[in-house]
Structures are given as C-alpha cells and as structure tokens.
Assembly symmetry: C2
Homo-oligomer: 368 residues x 2
C-alpha cells in the first residue's frame, strides 16, 4: 500500500489534460491560502478579470467554477432550463450528446439537431429547429471529432433564445469572442489550451441570461445566484463576500499563474502558436500517408483527428507510444473509438518541437 | 494586471483549508498524468483503497469526487432521494441546515430536527422524527460549532432508513468507523484533517444504499451509476474503465501522497496527535480566561470554538492575527459570526507547536 508510486513523465498529446504551463505547476506549490483570505480574494478577482479577456467578454459574472468542465456544462443548463423549457441542442459529437442528457435531467424538452460526426454544425438548421426555444446550445470545438463550428453565425440567428456555448477545447487556443458572437452562457475547462491541471470550469454568463435564470435551481453547488455572493464583480458591487463553499484555492492560484503567462505572451500570439503547431502536425500526418478525420476547413489546430490506417491496431499503437516514448494520444470517441486517433497540441504543448516529436514517434511505430 | 501577486505564507488555523501535509504539496508538483493513463489509474485505485481505511469501510464504491466537500453533500442526496422521499435531517449547525436545502432541491420531503447550536444531536429524537424515512442524515463533526455527534448511536437506531453522514471535518482527524457505525453514505473534504488542498470530496456508499439509489439522478456530474464505470473496485469487476469526465489528476495524486503519509504515521497515531493538539489549545484558551462555545464532552479536538470576550472586536482581532502574524482563524458561523472564533488544528497543523503559536498570538493581541 504505502510504496511510493513512480510517476512517469508523460507528453500529454491526447485530447486533454495537456502538460501544464510551468508557471501553472509552480502556482500549485505556493503556500496554500484560505478561500476568504484577502490575498486570495485579490487573486480570485484578478483571475476573473483575466478570464474575461480569454473569453472575450465583459460579463461581470465570469468565474472559475469549483469542478471540472463537465460540471460547467451542468451549471449552464441547471441555471437556465427547468421543467418544460425548450432546449435546442446541436449535436455533432460526444459533447453535444452529453448536453442533451444534462438538459433532459433538468426537465427540459430537448430538441436535438443531429449532424454527421466530423462535420461542423449548420447554424441555419439549428436556428430553425424550433420557433421559440428558451436556449440554443452548441459546442464551439468538439473534442470528440476535432471540429470547429461557427458560433458567431449561430449567435446571429439565435433570436430571443439564450445561446449556450461549450468552449472547453477552444478557450485560449483559438479565436473566441463571446460577446461579439452573442454567447449568453459559456463554460470551459482548465486542462486543455489554458494549460492548467483539470479541476476548474471557467464560466461566464451575461446579464440577459442571468435575469432569465432558474431562480432556485436543482443544484445547490452550481447555483449561480448563490455563487455570485462569493466571486465576480457582482459580489463586490453588493459589498462583501458571502461564504458559499470552500473554493479550491491551489487550483485557482495555478489558473491565475497560467493566465498571467498567456496574457504576457499575448492572446493573439498564443492563438497563432496553436495554429502553427496544428498545421505542422496536420501537414506531417498527411505526408506520412495518414488521412485526417475532421472536415477540411473546420479542423481545430489544437486537436487533430486522424484515421487509423487499415490493418493497424489502434490501441496497440497508443500503448507503444506510451510505453516506449511516454507519449499519450487519445483514442477516438463513440463509434470511432478504434478507427480514429485524437492528437492534441494544446497550451504549453502547442509548439513545433511537440509536433515534430509526435510525428517522429508515429513514423517509427507505424514504420513509415 | 500581469504583476505577479506576492503570496503570503499563512498559518491556516481556521475551519479549513489547513496547511497541507508537505507530501501533499509535493504531489501537486509531480508531472501531470492523463485521467486514463494506466499509471494514473493505479494511483486512483490505491487512493480509493487508502480512503477505505480512513473511512473505516470495505465499500467498493469509495472514491474522491471531482469537486469540493459541498458537492459531496449534493452527491449524497441527489443519488438517494427524489420527489416525495422523506429525509429526516438532524440540524445542529450550518451544515445540517445546508443538507435541508440540498435535499429539498432533490424534491425530498424534509423533516428537520433542530438542536441548539453548540450541542450534539440527540440520536433518539432524530430516529423518532418520522416512522419510515428513506434517509436519515447527520453531521459527524459540525464545522460551524466544533461539536462531535454520536453517529454510532444514530446508526443503531436508523431502522430501515439509509444513514447519510457528513464527515468533512472528522475524516482522518478523529475516530471514524463508517461500517461499524452503520453509515450507508458518507462524504468528506480533503482540505481539513486529510491535509490536502480543497478540491475533492472523498465519498463512500455501500451496496445497500447503491441498490436503493435514484437510477437517473438529476445531476449528470454526480451520478454514481455513471461514475462507477470509471473509478472504484466496481469498475474493475466489470472489466475496463468508462470515460465519464476528466478527473482532476493533480489533486488525486496529491491526495494519494497525503494518504500514504497518514497511513505511514498510523491512523491511531494521527487521531492521537489531533486529540493532543486540541487539548493543549482548549486548555490554553481557558487559562487565558476565554470560554469555549461547544458543549463540554462533545468538543472536537481539530476544531475549537471559543467565545469572543465582551468588548472585543472579533473581526479586528482576526485581521490583526493575519496582518501581524500571518495567522488565519475563522469567524463564527450564522448567528455567531461576530461572537465566536473558530480555531482549527487539522492535519499537518495538529501539532503542539501550532497550539503554542496561536495561544501566544492571541495572548499578545488580547493583552492577556
């Protein structure tokens, strides 16, 4: 039992978590602060302010929720839809599917708009799926397929509905402009392009959505009305903080450090770095004779999906990458579990040397 | 914006978080692992096994939930009570009150059994509050008042009901024997006597409760049926892991390290260390002429409540402790916010030198 485990030093080139920015790891080791310490509250406020920048929003209610990205999804629905509310959900991968499950558990009437996996969503078709939904929801960057969808186009067509957007795999990796695009509620994760360990869900909600929220949601933990008393500008406007739950202070300090590093580099530069690394990888994979899965023109640079060549054992290759080179890549999702690989170059891994390494390792193992 | 914050090095003598065990902090800095990495799954399995020891249970379904202790509370209710189910809840402080709120949001018919704050619960009165509740719930160690209640006595009287127990402030600090005491569902936090940063909720549920669970709970994130596919012995019995959400791997590695350290020291020794530090503190406070708040005979060693002397500004003393000595203690909870202090000596802080330091600092500031 008590033998110390040897922790291997992996290159995390799967769909997340990615290797954190060194600053984020260093942040975890700083002295722990209490969740009501003035020093921590200052860090929390700065963190919320920096999150606004990476979200592209001015929303006062922008904060890191104290759980992983999937809880961010749950927070989005639990605070906006209740029994009988219509939720139109665009599905072009696993995370759109999950939205349907989560919304249904809130009692919503789910109108599911299916798309082929590997293709982006069709904003027109989604917008026309129901005459008066309370919410329309879509995934910006589908982690299951490596596809980017046009959230701005959907925002332009949303009408009176609230637009919920999953930005788990897009935030701090590719262009994201929540306010300009008409996103009313957004959630993300820390463990991908933000370059922090998993454990927090950066979340944003605008006044329009907050005013139309479920006042007494079925989740106490994710009740934004209660959370607003503790974090975000809203809490300061109303003078003083209210204890809600014990915030995961070490994780917030780590996120703060990563955001400082990202903004010091410059968000445009960070996006360009992801684009460059992704292009290197995708070009290189095709030169190895491999076929990309996501539709051309909609490929995420930070998460590449590639078809497993005929006759190749997908799991055996992943295992060999791990055992021989300490490199993790991901299996495909859902029906594509054994026919697609998912290769992420996110956050600190969005660099040319990382692209070079995974290409060389795959070439070696595949004998190409 | 981008100026690095200076992080003060605090002594966290409040109601939690406490200063983590050094091993737990070191664990956060180890190379990050993916949530499906075989190396991580081995660590997760060992973590679950060690959690069984600190819970005093053989439950296969013992695992760290991916959120803080309050989400553990929500998981306990959301998986066991639905519309119309009767939940008898013992209330002798803030966390009993919170249970009522959380259970009501699940649609439960809440039968609240109130007790004076500062007193333990009366197991007989709680057990007799309703003839056939689905669940009975009580807090083992009330963080708001510093009181220990007799869970074993309640377990002996629970009849057919499921017993839910909040062990957030008791786990790894005082005697806790979930199986012997008849606890069916228990939840805890990492940031108190376990000596880990906040962010995980150690959770346990036995077969009896699992069989009577809500099959399709309103929370997707906390659905134990889905979670069982990823962690715990149950997942292994059924061969293979199912991805549910991305586990907060850094936090789990940190918890693993703390548990190894606790079990290396020996759980009995750790309990004795908490008892000794608490006794030193409580004796010392009384020698300073201060009056303890929690009822004699039911005082938690790990969390001491003490009345603010007449004429003393509670907040000013806390602020001076923080500014002058980098020492955090807690305000009182609820109606006792300005008339009680809460002083925790938990986990790594459960040591004689910590007791000595807080006593000396208080003596200085109070001029005693």
């Amino acid at each position: 039992m008590a033998t110390p485990a040897m922790i291997p030093d992996r290159r995390l080139f799967g769909p997340g978590p990615s290797n954190p920015y060194p600053e984020a790891t260093a942040g975890l080791g700083l002295p722990l602060l209490g969740h009501l310490d003035p020093a921590f509250l200052a860090i929390m406020d700065e963190t919320c302010a920096m999150l606004r920048t990476v979200w592209g929003t001015d929303n006062a209610r922008t904060l890191p929720l104290s759980a992983t990205g999937s809880a961010g999804m749950e927070a989005a629905f639990v605070n906006t839809v209740g029994a009988g509310d219509v939720a139109v959900i665009a599905v072009n991968g696993l995370f759109g599917e999950r939205m349907c499950d989560v919304a249904a558990r809130c009692g919503a009437q789910v109108v599911r708009v299916d798309h082929e996996w590997g293709q982006p969503i069709d904003p027109q078709r989604v917008a026309e799926a129901h005459p008066s939904p309370k919410v329309i929801a879509a995934v910006h960057a589908e982690t299951s397929t490596g596809v980017r969808s046009d959230i701005a186009a959907l925002g332009a067509l949303k009408g009176d509905a609230l637009l919920i957007t999953d930005a788990v795999t897009s935030i701090a990796g590719i262009e994201l402009r929540a306010d300009d695009w008409g996103v009313d509620v957004g959630y993300a994760g820390t463990q991908k392009c933000l370059g922090v360990a998993p454990g927090l869900a950066p979340f944003t909600i605008n006044d329009r959505a907050f005013e139309r929220r479920i006042e007494h949601p079925q989740s106490w933990y994710l009740d934004l009305g209660l959370l607003g008393g503790y974090v975000g500008e809203a809490s300061q406007k109303h003078g003083g903080r209210t204890y809600h739950h014990t915030a995961p202070t070490a994780m917030v300090v780590s996120l703060h450090a990563a955001l400082q590093r990202i903004l010091a580099e410059g968000l445009d530069t960070v996006w360009a770095r992801h684009a460059e690394a992704g292009e290197l990888l995708q070009d290189g994979l095709q030169k190895l004779g491999l076929e990309l899965f996501a539709a051309q023109g909609y490929r995420l640079p930070e998460l590449t999906t590639v078809k497993v060549p005929d006759g190749v054992d997908s799991a055996a290759v992943r295992r060999e990458l791990l055992d021989r080179y300490d490199i993790e890549i991901g299996a495909g999702a859902g029906a594509y579990a054994s026919t697609v690989w998912r290769i992420g170059l996110m956050g600190h891994n969005a660099r040319p040397d990382a692209a070079l390494l995974i290409l060389a390792a795959l070439a070696d193992i595949l004998g190409r």
